[in-house]
Amino acid sequence: MSAEARRWLERIRALPLPERFRIMNVCGGHERAITMAGLRRLLPPGIELIPGPGCPVCVCPEEDVHQAVQLALREDVVLVAFGDMLRVPVNVPRRVPRSLEQARAAGADVRPVASPMEAAAVARAEAPRPVVFFAAGFETTMAPVAAMLAEGAPENLFVLLSGRLTWPAVAMLLESETPGFDALVAPGHVSTVMGPEEWRFVPERHGIPAAVAGFTPESLLAAFYSVLRQHLEARPFLDNCYAEVARPGGNPSARRLLAEVMEVCDAPWRGIGTLPRSGLRLRMAWRAHDARARFPAYEEEGRRRAGRMPPGCDCARVVLGRIYPDQCRLYGRACTPRRPIGPCMVSDEGACRIWWAGGVASRRSTRPGSRSARDAKTVPGARRRPTLAADARASRLPGLDGTKADE
């Protein structure tokens, strides 16, 4: 750990800390950095770091995955998708391919791509055969998809878009009766694209401290320090601890291209339901590249599958930060990276996958050589402390009342 990170840690330790303080992050990159750097073990007791809705693969609805699998199986197309997406399972009857990977094993032409440019290159090479690009992602991925289309995509490329915006999920949590967190670390690269201002509603409308962070321990620790100070001084605002990259107004070219190619729509989130104005779809002008327009039969079929989660899968509650990954009944037992049941164990940005890679064992089993969740200081639901009771201001703030369990 760098000297600067250690200094931030010392500053945090010197604060008159509340007994319990829950900081949510909404970015798989943040969760990975936190887990890999072991920040949970280094922070004083009572500071909890909660992974929230930060994994686009994890919130991609079942019906979209089902649609992609069926398209790959039944049409003469090449289906390309980001590698993470290939292993995401849907809940279908036995012997029916349940993921794009299984569709490939059953003979479908499914290929992983690492970039929208690569999807376009596959389409050029395969022309005139249709190539379907199943693109799930947040703003950081949608801007490159928009750029690829705006730059001129081949005629035989059709995008099956599953774009989601990050802030509406946080807004939904804050508007719920139990947000489950006391401060927010806002995502660094979403803010880089869209501008940090998008997150102002968190302190201004909800009185919750917030700070944009980068992906290094020092940037994250600086953000934790900032939100703690904001809380202690009862002065919530949006701080920016990634200012050189996440600049005011975001990336103007990316925002312009996003607005040109896509429009905001209501959209379903896996296991969560439909969130108003939380999705992105292609504008009518780009209909010639819309896989849903080119292959309309599969959308309705997919919609009938909405909400069919695998039995026992708690991914939705993990995504919302209602429980920690190792509190899921399947974590590390029935569900592992090798045999995933839910998307949180599949994606590099999924909290379960990240915790497993970080050595956190299931609460119900012992994995040799692994740390227990308690060692990793991640046992929130188990603690039911009255929090911040002395802080008169706290009672006015959602999530700070200390009386509501967060599950």
Binding site: R32, F82, P144, N251, A357
Partner: protein, 84 residues
């Protein structure tokens, strides 16, 4: 997917930059950085093959330390391969 990779620009041709990081070279699109000049020697944050922002060398090095730790742990993303 949201895991960005800092890379250094070696050469620019149109909207494409030849970039390098940790000995791996990749073509990176500059289409999302049309509003600012990018040239050889600059560092950019790359997401799914697209540069989304310029950054300083110090930030790039700091970000790479974390990638190295993740890779050493054996489960990190494979930055050069996955994102270019």
């Amino acid at each position: 997917m949201c895991l960005g990779v800092p890379m250094q620009v070696l050469a620019v041709e149109g909207h494409t930059a030849r970039c390098a990081a940790r000995g791996v070279e990749r073509d990176v699109s500059l289409f999302l950085l049309q509003h600012e000049p990018v040239g050889p020697g600059d560092w950019v944050m790359v997401h799914v093959g697209y540069a989304i922002q310029r950054m300083t060398e110090a930030e790039a090095r700091s970000a790479w330390e974390l990638h190295d730790e993740a890779l050493a742990a054996g489960d990190g993303p494979t930055p050069g391969a996955a994102d270019a």
